[in-house]
């Protein structure tokens, strides 16, 4: 991380990465993402991403190594870019045309906006971002609209097995 300040606004050229676990997020036999890779838990509307332009492939690996999911193994990354995301989302009906990806440096409670930028040194994970859905799934209630959105958004992501394949 060389930048002292990072813009909150995610540029359309920026690459976005999500850390992928097997078997929860990715089917090795079908060679594709499961919808569960992009579904939030109940009462939450956010799914974590990494802004690769302000991170690095090695740093993605470091972050992946800090995440523990029981009975799941880190097997790679999903990568896309902001322009593909915007193109997909803007074609969606309300409320899914309001899905956004926004910078959410961690820890979130430190978030301070300096004229559209934030100071990286006070954050543990300054390159963190969230895909934010327009609503939060309820506990034990089916949610076909959200699953249908995710089914479609999956198509803009590419699977990378190794961090060295995460090219800018």
């Amino acid at each position: 991380m060389n930048n002292l300040f990072i813009p909150f606004k995610i540029d359309s050229e920026e690459k976005l990465v999500r850390i992928i676990f097997n078997p929860l997020h990715y089917s090795v036999s079908k060679k594709r993402f499961n919808r569960e890779a992009f579904l939030p838990p109940p009462g939450r509307d956010d799914v974590s991403m990494i802004r690769l332009n302000y991170s690095s492939p090695n740093r993605c690996k470091e972050i992946a190594d800090t995440i523990k999911l029981k009975d799941n193994k880190h097997i790679g990354y999903s990568i896309s870019d902001m322009s593909k995301f915007l193109n997909k989302v803007l074609s969606k009906p309300d409320p899914f045309n309001k899905v956004t990806i926004r910078a959410t440096p961690l820890p979130k409670h430190l978030e301070i906006d300096f004229f559209g930028y934030f100071f990286t040194l006070i954050y543990n994970v300054p390159e963190h971002a969230d895909m934010i859905y327009p609503y939060k799934p309820e506990k034990n209630k089916s949610n076909p609209e959200l699953r249908l959105f995710v089914e479609d958004i999956i198509s803009i992501f590419t699977f990378c097995e190794k961090e060295t394949d995460l090219n800018l």
Partner: protein
């Protein structure tokens, strides 16, 4: 002890132990809650010999998979994710049984391509055929589905099990199982 083991052998541990028996792995271990039993092969064989063989029948396989979701713990899919409620496991079995009974004789029930729990507690059952997808979701009090055919999507929500069965029967018979 044998009576106790026969009782244990009717659940998941029976299947695990049974598989081990036929993969020639020693010893045969039957686990139940905090107890572990190491059995001699001939003891185990004498028990399983009196039990029904493991079935390849879809209803049986389906139940085995959804029953395993009862083992999920809080946070199983990351922070905030919740385990599947036993009532949802039960509703999914009810749906699968009803669907199996409702299907036309020409379209015998086929195992779904995937059966997965969601981080927010529901169960999702998918059937696919080429570019066509039927995705069922069972919740605590209602259920829903969506279909996909290349780039065309449709969905219905807030369905009781009976309506879900009827819709999915028609979709499976006309688009997926053909």
């Amino acid at each position: 002890m044998i009576d106790q083991l026969i009782a244990l052998c009717f659940d998941e541990s029976y299947i695990k132990a049974y598989k081990k028996l036929y993969s020639k792995t020693e010893p045969i271990v039957v686990k139940q809650e905090n107890q572990t039993y190491n059995l001699k092969r001939n003891t185990f064989e004498s028990i399983v010999g009196s039990l029904p063989a493991i079935s390849d029948e879809p209803n049986y396989q389906f139940e085995r998979i959804v029953n395993s979701f009862k083992q999920l713990k809080e946070g199983w899919a990351g922070e905030g994710s919740i385990p599947t409620d036993p009532s949802i496991v039960l509703r999914s079995k009810e749906y699968f049984k009803k669907l199996s009974d409702a299907l036309n004789l020409n379209f015998k029930i086929r195992m779904p391509d995937s059966i997965v729990p969601t981080p927010y507690g529901t169960i999702v059952i998918d059937w696919e055929r080429g570019v066509k997808l039927l995705s069922i979701e069972i919740g605590e009090f209602e259920s829903s589905f969506f279909t996909k055919n290349i780039d065309e999507f449709s969905l219905l929500s807030d369905l009781p099990i009976e309506s879900l069965t009827e819709y999915s029967k028609n979709i499976l018979e006309n688009h997926i199982f053909i």
